[in-house]
């Protein structure tokens, strides 16, 4: 009797999916290990701790953001808890350390772990993205000259969160934050939160 149960059960069992498909891991200097606590192994992100993917983001963007945190452009809005978690860490870094860690992050292997979480109308998102493309590029690869980051590195949950932050005044509202202000102005072209979902859904198709 027991054996017959096993026969039934075994049909629906599949072998463990190997991790071999993942990009290989790179050594991480001890001083940067602290980043991986929230941002995950190889800085590939953790949506549960609300820590974005960093691996392969260009050094200039990481640098801008760390300096942005240090200047209190990010992480000081009372409703931005994940930002407030990053603030003291960025604040504790020197300019030299910021420059070094940014280069390290840029050179990490690419993450391929993202799954689509945000649901939206990607066709409508494609139309809406035309405005974004002016700075972020039609291929969403970003543009250093315009300080516009690549958008395909991130998990969709993070892009959505940041667009909401810009829309709701949690980011891009501190004076002196010219780059943030540019994005905060651009976001006013969107009428609703569902527009944001649509854009994020479109990005997932790229």
């Amino acid at each position: 009797m027991k054996n017959s149960i096993f026969v039934v059960v075994s049909i629906i069992v599949t072998s463990w999916v190997s991790l071999a498909k993942a990009e290989p891991f790179k050594d991480v200097p001890e001083k940067y290990r602290v980043c991986t606590v929230c941002h995950g192994a190889q800085l590939r992100g953790n949506e549960v701790t609300k820590a974005p993917t960093l691996a392969t983001l260009p050094a200039w963007y990481i640098e801008n953001q760390l300096i942005g945190f240090r200047n209190e452009w990010r992480g000081k809005h009372p409703e931005d808890y994940p930002g407030s978690e990053m603030y003291p860490v960025a604040e504790s870094l020197s300019e030299k350390e910021i420059s070094k860690v940014s280069k390290f992050i840029e050179a990490l292997p690419k993450s391929n772990k993202h799954t689509q979480i945000v649901k939206g109308d990607s066709a409508k998102g494609k139309e809406l993205y035309a405005t974004c493309a002016a700075c972020h590029g039609a291929d969403a690869q970003g543009n250093e000259v315009l300080s516009a980051p690549p958008l395909l590195v991130q998990g969709d949950w993070y892009i959505k969160q940041q667009l909401l932050n810009f829309k709701n005044g949690l980011r891009g509202k501190v004076s002196d934050d010219a780059r943030g202000a540019t994005m905060a102005a651009a976001i006013t072209s969107l009428n609703s939160d569902s527009d944001i979902d649509d854009i994020v859904a479109y990005l997932s198709t790229l």
């Binding site: 096993f6 059960v9 991790l19 891991f25 290990r33 953790n46």
Partner: protein, 508 residues
Amino acid sequence: MASIGGSTAVLNTAHALGLVDSPAPGKPLTIKPASGKQKKIVILGGGIAGLCTAYELERVGYDCTILEASHRIGGRNLTLRHGDFIDELGRPNYCNFDEDPNLYFNTGPARIPGHHRRLLGYCKTLGVPLHVRANESRLAYCHDTNAFGGKPIRIGQVISDTRGFLSELVQKGVKADAFDQELSKDDQERLMAFSKFFGDLKDNGVYEGTTRAGSKTERMLDHSTPTDTLNFKEMLKSNTWWSAVFASEHYDWAAPVMEPIGGMDRIVAGFARNIKSPIYLQSQVQSIEVLDDGVTVTYLNKGKIKTIKSDYCFNNIPAYFMSGIENNLSKPYTDALASMERGHLFKVAFQMKKRFWEEEGIYGGISYTNQNISQLWYPSHDIHTEKGIMLGAYGWDTDRALPLEAMELDERLKYAASQGDKIHKNYSSYIEAGASVMWARMNHMMGCSAGLPEGREDEVLSRLYKPEGRHFMIGDQVSRHSGWQEAALASAHNAMNQFSHMVTEKNA
């Protein structure tokens, strides 16, 4: 069959579907001695559950290895003393208490009630002496900025008056025939007698104060005179008096509670003394790959990626980190892990240059306030010595925690000190050192205690109470009682019972 899933995977799925009997959670720990070749165990995380697992499995013949991400073992069982490193993200600092073995502070678990049998059992077995910690003092204070003009009231007064006023209401109810449906006349008479005693009422059933709350006159040489009663309506304005009166009614806080002499981390040291398994510190897990015949774990140590292959894995890592650790666990299992929420428990401690509370008749126990600091704890140990460490703030809800988390270290201490000043005169002037531990900001922990998603508790726990393949999730997070060491041990015992059962079935 085995070629499809491997025998363990088959067996495990059978367990998951409830088709094979597996040990029920809460059963006493029984592990069969190791037999066969599959003896290698990797334990991820050196918290209480991880240490307990190593201790028990190596005793029955398994080869265990513990990988711990931080610079120390013990997890949230952290006792601070002079010079200890407080690894807060972005604000790393060192404890500045005086160098004195009596000046310590338990930043995580701090009390052990008598019914935590597993933990008390280990204390006994591991040679960890305990003493009683007063968890209640009737001479400590209840303080509410919205009641009694913000004046702190002795808890004994609050308890006595609460009983007095409620008893008087009971007497009025009986006289108004309010209980005629529920109670016979004889029962009502007995209730009158009991309530008179319970509230210390006058013969006419009126409460006019009691010497149980104290006396306005010298009690040894003179007649006691009851202290003035509080205003009942004023009491009802405050929520704080509930916690002051009823804290000890909580099963886990009921007096007496115990604490290890010298600090809660004596338990960690007790395990460490009795464990032979290697413990690798600063070894942070990067990936977990569960296979048909074992578990492969990669970790980061001194900048290098290293790999360890084992037969079975017990995972004590905070569940919310698992989304950042590459793994091949199933989606339902990782969804359950990802649903765990980070808790925001925090404590602030002060070294006081003088044990001023003892001059107010307070020897241990807790004062309660509606301010953000919530509680003040007085040490029960080393009474009448010069200095003492007291708890200056304690909370676990986000409303209390978030403002403090955002503050710089000095700012936090000043904030807690200024609120303590509302309870004790010159409180701030006694402070000569201080430390804060905000668990949601502590490196490698980032939370205390783990929260189950509302409405999904059963689903998440039923998933995690069982292993997935050769991977067992452990820790107080995998329980109905997170934040307690007893829960960590219960979870570890449950996992080991499942493990022993799995291995026995496999070898059968």
